[in-house]
Symmetry: C2
Subunit: 202 residues, 2 copies
């Protein structure tokens, strides 16, 4: 069971209600088995209203991905006070988590399937290019702040952020497409990498 | 265009011919648009022969994944002589490459889609559990050899192999589902991780 994210609890207006219905239908059926009918059943209004706004399932899902990315962007705070090391930890807790042990399971399964559409579909690829770049930029900004503060080594911030973003995508993909649970080992070894390669010597 | 792997060039017998036809049809159409008819067209024999051997598209693709994994396993040499550091480099060249710049592009696109089936399908998930574990074991074995030789630090070989396997999956997934090319940065930063966290000080 996947919990409703708080920003969807107070769905206000037609688009937000469609987005909420899409979220629940997607978590229940996954990408492959999802139909406009399933979304319409969740929505409680006729399919024709969905077809009035969207060309079809993929068009609706692309708008859904944009909608979710905008909310996600709002949830990532711009760190003002505090140390860069703490900010990096906080950000990693938000993006490098175990999708299995969270209320997020059904949504994470669907996200892995939606991302895979990018292999053959330019519009999905464009979305994931944008969302990956958003996270990469946040990480790189925190690393630059840490270098300025002298708490991080003088590393290449973009390159470090790129590897961390690859670990985030790899973790989500592996945890959702295999039966072995590797999360603890991944997170521990990522921390060891940060300790030895990014954080300055004490 | 994806080249035929050498072991499929000399396809011998019905199963190998079906596997070769599946390889080409999958590279051309991807998972979602692939039909038994496409495979039968490549195969040059009737669809009924395919249905005699397989229950349908997914059943055939699961056999195809097994077939490819067996061949891949045979290609990974058991390193006897030479140093563990060289073996690790050689293995990473085979599994952490840029799928875009290789003849492997169409196949890599299809593999990302096939892996994503594991999000909702236990049989695909079982396959990718097995194939990920195969690579993880190879990496861990080389790391243990390097520790014994004194050329690697006394690291947790399983944990190190787990992070490398996550980077491999993340690289394949990101390179195939986004438009930005991040391969060089990923590989360079992975080398920096190996240098600082795995290889012993000179």
């Amino acid at each position: 069971m996947t919990d409703t994210p708080s920003f969807l609890d107070e769905a206000d207006g037609t688009r937000e209600e469609i987005m909420k219905a899409t979220f629940h239908a997607l978590c229940e059926y996954g990408y492959k088995d999802l139909t406009i009918q399933h979304i319409s059943d969740e929505f409680g209004k006729s399919k024709s209203l969905l077809y009035y706004h969207y060309d079809g399932k993929d068009d609706l899902l692309l708008d859904f991905l944009d909608f979710m990315l905008e909310r996600f962007e709002d949830q990532i705070p711009y760190p003002e006070g505090g140390s860069a090391a703490d900010h990096l930890d906080e950000l990693l807790d938000q993006v490098l988590f175990d999708p299995r042990s969270s209320d997020f399971h059904g949504f994470a399964q669907a996200m892995v399937e939606l991302r895979a559409q990018g292999a053959h579909d330019a519009e999905f690829r464009e979305h994931f290019t944008r969302s990956d770049e958003f996270i990469r930029k946040q990480i790189a900004r925190i690393i630059r702040k840490g270098i300025d503060e002298g708490v991080f080594r003088d590393v290449d911030s973009r390159r470090t952020a790129t590897l961390l973003q690859t670990i985030i995508v790899g973790t989500m993909t592996e945890q959702m497409t295999t039966d072995d649970d590797r999360f603890e080992a991944i997170r521990d070894e990522t921390d060891r990498y940060l300790q030895r390669c990014v954080l300055a010597d004490e």
